[in-house]
Symmetry: C3
Subunit: 215 residues, 3 copies
């Protein structure tokens, strides 16, 4: 896939988006400059690393480390924006949510595509796509000691499952790769952003309420 | 081991038990329906995935995904039970404890058996069994932001170590596989349940008390 | 590298140091005896395990488990010291900080050396060294539900980056391995200890302050 520039474009977009989300979470948590860079890089490469380990593939960034340097550059820019006042502290929550949605959408589809190409059957490829898309954010949230977004609800895992399924269905009917990819990305992103905007959520279990107040 | 139905029975039991524990933790934490399913699946396959990665084996569920679908089905049933009122909110704590004990017992022995079969020497195979048995619960607790059960005490790691050691000793004297397996499971389960029932615990360090109150 | 006794010396030192830090964190958290041993072992082998998984190498301790037994022995000694009164509860914080700094310094250089030997290019080898050095502590802090030291600041990741870079530069100019190693270790350890002693820190972002108070 080395010469599939369109696929690389997908990965660049996801890397930038997750790096922004990691840097914004770090900035909210009051970390220092290097902490911001560390969390940006870990978020950006975390999902893909998990996918490579599960598939038994060589970890991509060890031999082709551009996502590391790209995420590092994004962190530097994010720090500059914050100091320059172009990005205000109270916008960080929105920044995290939006950038995370873009990263989730893109990496879910990219992970599903790589799993399908590795000969994984479609339903499992969809799951591996969701693991790839959600994985970076989970690592970010565990390290920053936040509740993982994938468990907060608001149509997070469902959006990723829908986008990955859309991609796989189009791929099964031999749609052009570009159409399948961007349709999958669009489904996930639209569902996730709509859920945040209009506070869509799956029903919570009746048991949860009392316990949640207690925790 | 594809035709070893008895071994598969062990894995089915462990998968169901850990899926129940993951679903119950998620229900207590007030997650939505899909969050319950996600935590059930992750708990059920987490320990085995960690074991496969450490052993350098292909990750089982990628090519033979029945544990994923089984855990998903268990989560659906658990949600139904909660809505139907067959499982009450105040029983969730007990459910987590009991299901986790069964999963721990079964996966510890299954992990030890797989490690021995992979040529790992007995003492390290015991440790890998404990990692397999405790791993799914650790992933569950870290994601749900609970204190990992393996560190809470109450004869958790000790029960797993004892069961795995029992299995290995019987295996060394060429006991029938079924006898070795179920003896190992019974040792772990009996020790763990007795510890919870009668509040057995290893001594805590004298230093811990003041610090614990503070945290 | 089986006969490179000097390299093994490096690993022994790092294993002991991280085991001490894990045992001390566990003692502070009020864990029981076996919990202290579990956290000591996990901290001591965590970083190297992560490094082996990322590199696609067999996990070292599965076939050559001395670090596991060494960390276990250290935990027993630490428990004895605490009971004997040679190590007081209020010294545990200092013990964690100092032992963690030694483990970080040694494993960062050891990880960088292994990455370079595996044919990873220098800048990525430096990153993998930092992952190795910081990894055990991250696992320890996530399990014990502490804020990961690598994100607390106080020149932690920067110290590791500097030491790994020092090692790589000396290696590039064909310095004797022993000189390169111990220079790298000394750079990391000196920077980290000086940062803790004189409260050096990289600047935090302006956004962090209000948020930090809130969390």
């Amino acid at each position: 896939m080395a010469t599939d520039y369109a696929f690389t474009g997908l990965e660049v977009l996801g890397t930038v988006a997750f790096a922004v989300s990691g840097a914004a979470v770090a900035a909210r948590a009051g970390l220092d400059w290097l902490g911001v860079a560390v969390l940006a890089v870990v978020t950006a490469v975390g999902g893909g690393t998990l996918r490579d380990l599960l598939l038994g593939h060589p970890v991509t960034w060890l031999h082709d480390p551009w996502p590391v340097w790209l995420a590092f550059g994004v962190a530097i820019l994010a720090i500059g924006w914050l100091y320059g006042g172009w990005l205000r502290a109270r916008q960080l929550g929105t920044t995290v949510m939006f950038a995370d949605a873009v990263g989730l959408s893109v990496f879910t589809v990219a992970g599903t595509e790589i799993a399908v190409a590795a000969g994984i059957r479609a339903p499992v490829a969809v799951l591996l796509g969701v693991v790839t898309g959600a994985g970076g954010g989970v690592v970010r949230d565990v390290l920053a000691r936040q509740r993982p977004l994938v468990l907060v609800g608001e149509i997070y895992a469902l959006a990723a499952l829908s986008g990955a399924t859309g991609y796989v269905l189009l791929w099964e009917v031999s749609a052009p790769p570009e159409v399948a990819r961007w349709t999958g990305v669009a489904i996930t992103l639209a569902l996730r952003l709509a859920a945040v905007r209009w506070r869509w959520a799956l029903p919570k279990l009746p048991t949860g309420r009392a316990e949640q107040a207690r925790s």
